[in-house]
C-alpha cells in the first residue's frame, strides 16, 4: 500500500472524527438521550445506520458525541502534558547539577509506576468525570515529554549558536523559548501524536471500567454497555470499538509518518 493512500486514510479518519466532535450537536441525527423503548436493541436500519441500544437510543448519535469526548481528552491531556513536560524538562536541562538530578530521579520514580494504574487509582479517589480523567491522565503524562526535552537541551546547549546566544547575554527564558523551542518542536510533535492515541485509549479504558464521564457517552462506556448484549445485539460492541480502533491507529500512523518525515529532514540538513 502506498504511503499516499495511508496518509489519505489518516487525514480522512482524523478529519471525520474532528468534524463530528466539534459539530456533534448539529450532526447527530437524534438527540443523544432520546429513548424509544419499543426499538430497544434494534440492529442497523436506514434511519439508525448503527442500530439502537437497550433503551432505543440511536447509536450513531451517541458515537458522534463520544468522538467529542475522545478528542477533548486526547488533545487536552497532550496539551497539558507537553506544556508541563517542556517547562520541567527545559528547566532541568538548563539548571543542571543537583536540581537536574532531583528532577531526573523524580521522573525515574514516576516512570516506574504503571501509568494507567495510577490513573485508575486517582479517578477512584477523586470520583469519575471528564476533568478528573484529564487530571489523572496528565499527572504522569508530562514525564515522557520532560525526559525528551531535557535530553534535547543537553544536546543543544553544547552547540555553537547556543553558546553565542549566551555570550551575547541572552537569559535562560530567551534561550529556551526562542532558541530551544523550535528545535524541540519536531520530536515533541511526534510524541504528541502517539500521546493523543494513548490518551484516547486510556480514557476509553477508564470509561469502560465505569470510571470515565457519566453524563455524555464515551466510546468506553458504549462498549461497556454493549458487552452485555454480545449475543443479541453485537452491533453495540462492533461499531464503538471500530471507532476507537480507527482513531488510535490513525494517530499512531500519524506519529510514524511525522517521525519518518523529521528523520528525512534531519538527514537532508546533514
Amino acid at each position: 500500500m502506498s504511503r499516499k493512500l495511508i496518509s489519505i486514510f489518516i487525514v480522512v479518519v482524523i478529519a471525520v472524527f474532528a468534524v463530528s466532535g466539534i459539530f456533534a450537536a448539529k450532526l447527530a441525527p437524534f438527540p443523544v438521550n432520546e429513548q424509544n423503548l419499543c426499538l430497544g436493541l434494534a440492529g442497523p436500519s436506514a434511519s439508525h445506520p448503527f442500530g439502537q441500544d437497550k433503551l432505543g437510543r440511536d447509536l450513531l448519535s451517541r458515537m458522534i458525541f463520544a468522538a467529542r469526548i475522545s478528542l477533548i481528552v486526547g488533545v487536552t491531556v497532550v496539551l497539558i502534558s507537553a506544556t508541563l513536560g517542556f517547562l520541567i524538562g527545559a528547566a532541568a536541562g538548563a539548571a543542571g547539577g543537583a536540581a537536574d538530578q532531583a528532577i531526573m530521579r523524580l521522573i525515574d520514580l514516576l516512570m516506574a509506576f504503571p501509568g494507567i494504574l495510577l490513573a485508575i487509582a486517582l479517578v477512584a479517589v477523586l470520583g469519575p468525570g471528564l476533568w478528573n480523567v484529564i487530571f489523572a491522565l496528565s499527572v504522569l503524562g508530562w514525564v515522557g515529554y520532560a525526559r525528551l526535552v531535557r535530553a534535547q537541551v543537553l544536546v543543544e546547549r553544547e552547540k555553537a549558536y547556543f553558546e553565542s546566544a549566551r555570550a551575547l547575554g541572552a537569559g535562560w527564558a530567551r534561550l529556551i523559548f526562542k532558541h530551544l523551542a523550535p528545535n524541540v518542536a519536531g520530536p515533541l510533535l511526534v510524541q504528541a501524536s502517539f500521546g493523543i492515541a494513548g490518551a484516547i485509549l486510556a480514557e476509553a479504558s477508564l470509561s469502560f471500567l465505569g470510571l470515565g464521564t457519566q453524563k455524555i457517552p464515551s466510546f468506553g462506556s458504549l462498549l461497556s454497555h454493549g458487552i452485555n448484549f454480545l449475543r443479541t445485539a453485537p452491533h453495540l460492541t462492533i461499531f464503538p470499538g471500530l471507532a476507537v480502533f480507527l482513531l488510535v491507529i490513525s494517530f499512531n500512523l500519524l506519529g510514524d509518518f511525522l517521525g519518518d518525515y523529521l528523520q528525512v529532514e534531519e538527514k537532508g540538513k546533514v
Binding site: 500500500m1 525515574d108 520514580l109 516506574a112 509506576f113 504503571p114 494507567i116 494504574l117 495510577l118 485508575i120 487509582a121 486517582l122 477512584a124 479517589v125 477523586l126 470520583g127 492515541a197 485509549l201 476509553a204 479504558s205 469502560f208 471500567l209 465505569g210 470510571l211 468506553g220 462498549l223 461497556s224 454493549g226 458487552i227 454480545l230 449475543r231 453485537p234 460492541t237 462492533i238 470499538g241 471500530l242 476507537v244 480502533f245 488510535v248 491507529i249 499512531n252 500512523l253
Partner: protein, 308 residues
C-alpha cells in the same frame, strides 16, 4: 558490573518507597471525609469512629504514615468489604493474574517470533507486508474491543470456547489471546528489526565463507544474537501484562488482582484499593528489576555502557 548490579538493586528500594508514599496519600485525596465516603451517609457514629480508628485517620499525618508502613510490613492491613487481611484476599487473585499473564506471554511469543523472523527473511515480500500489518493491528487494537470480538466469534458463533470464568485450559485461551495480542504486535516488530540487523552482520558472511551450512548459520549464529533484544522486550512486557490485565479480567470475569482492584473501587474499599495498587506496582517493579539484571548479565555491550 558488580557496581551496576548493586546500584540497580539499591535504586529499587527508594522507588518502591516512593510508590508506597504515593499510595499512602490516595486516601487523603478523597474529597470530603474518606470514612463517610467509604461507609455512606447512613453509617452509625460508632461504625464511623471504629473505621476512622482502624485506618489511623484519627492520628496526626506523620503517625498515620508510620502506622501505614507498620501495618503494611506486618500484613495487618485489612479489607473493609472482606473483613480480613488484604494479603489473604489478594494472594489467590495474584496467582490467577500471573497464570493469565504467563499464558498471554506464551501465546504472544508463539505467534510473534515466527512471524517476525519469517518477515525478516522475506523482506519486502507479501509475507513481510502481512507481518507489518499484523504488528500494527496488534499494537492498535484495544483489549476492550478485541475481547468481545473473540467472544462473538469463538464462543457465540462457533461455540468452541467458554465466554468467561476460570477453569481449565479452554477458559484461558480467549483472555490470554486478548491480553497477549498487543505484546505479539510489538514482539513481531522487534523480532523483525532484530533479525534484519543480525542478517546484515559481517560475521554471518564470514560464516558462509568458512563453509558453514545455512541452517547452522541461521539457527546457531543469527537467531542466538537476534534473541537478546527480543528477550528484553519479553521481560519488560511481562511487567506491563501484569499491570494492565484489569480490562481483560473484567471482560472475561477472570478472578485476578486487576478485577479485584476494580471491584474494590466500586465497593469503596480503599485499603484494598491501596493494597492492590501497591501489589501490582511492586510486581511490575520486581519483574523490571529482574529483567534489567538478567539483561546486564547476558549482553556485554549493556554492561560496558552502564559502567561508563
Amino acid at each position: 558490573m558488580r557496581q551496576y548490579l548493586v546500584r540497580r538493586v539499591l535504586w529499587f528500594f527508594p522507588v518502591l518507597f516512593g510508590v508506597s508514599l504515593i499510595v499512602f496519600f490516595f486516601i487523603h485525596l478523597i474529597p470530603g471525609d474518606p470514612v463517610m465516603v467509604m461507609l455512606g451517609e447512613s453509617a452509625r457514629p460508632a461504625q464511623v469512629q471504629a473505621l476512622r480508628h482502624s485506618l489511623h485517620l484519627d492520628q496526626p499525618l506523620y503517625l498515620q504514615l508510620l502506622l501505614f508502613f507498620s501495618d503494611l510490613l506486618r500484613g495487618k492491613m485489612a479489607s473493609i468489604f472482606f473483613q480480613k487481611p488484604v494479603l489473604d484476599v489478594m494472594a489467590p487473585r495474584l496467582i490467577a493474574t500471573f497464570e493469565l499473564a504467563l499464558f498471554a506471554m506464551a501465546i504472544a511469543i508463539l505467534i510473534a517470533l515466527p512471524i517476525g523472523i519469517l518477515s525478516a527473511f522475506k523482506k519486502n515480500s507479501w509475507i513481510d507486508f502481512a507481518s507489518r500489518v499484523f504488528s500494527l493491528l496488534g499494537v492498535s487494537i484495544p483489549n476492550f474491543w478485541l475481547g468481545p470480538l473473540l467472544i462473538i466469534l469463538f464462543s457465540i458463533i462457533l461455540g468452541w470456547l467458554p465466554v468467561s470464568g476460570r477453569g481449565g485450559l479452554s477458559h484461558l485461551i480467549l483472555p490470554a489471546l486478548t491480553l497477549g495480542m498487543g505484546m505479539a504486535g510489538l514482539l513481531s516488530r522487534i523480532s523483525r528489526a532484530s533479525m534484519l540487523e543480525v542478517l546484515s552482520a559481517p560475521y554471518l558472511r564470514s560464516g558462509r565463507a568458512r563453509g558453514l551450512s545455512e541452517a547452522r548459520i541461521i539457527l546457531v549464529h543469527a537467531l542466538r544474537n537476534a534473541l537478546i533484544p527480543i528477550l528484553t522486550v519479553i521481560g519488560l512486557q511481562f511487567g506491563a501484562l501484569l499491570s494492565g490485565a484489569f480490562i481483560t479480567e473484567t471482560i472475561f470475569a477472570w478472578p485476578g488482582i486487576g478485577r479485584l482492584l476494580i471491584n474494590a473501587i466500586f465497593t469503596r474499599d480503599f485499603p484494598l484499593v491501596q493494597a492492590c495498587v501497591l501489589m501490582i506496582a511492586a510486581s511490575y517493579l520486581t519483574v523490571n528489576l529482574l529483567v534489567d539484571l538478567c539483561y546486564a548479565g547476558v549482553d556485554a555491550r549493556v554492561r560496558l555502557w552502564r559502567e561508563k
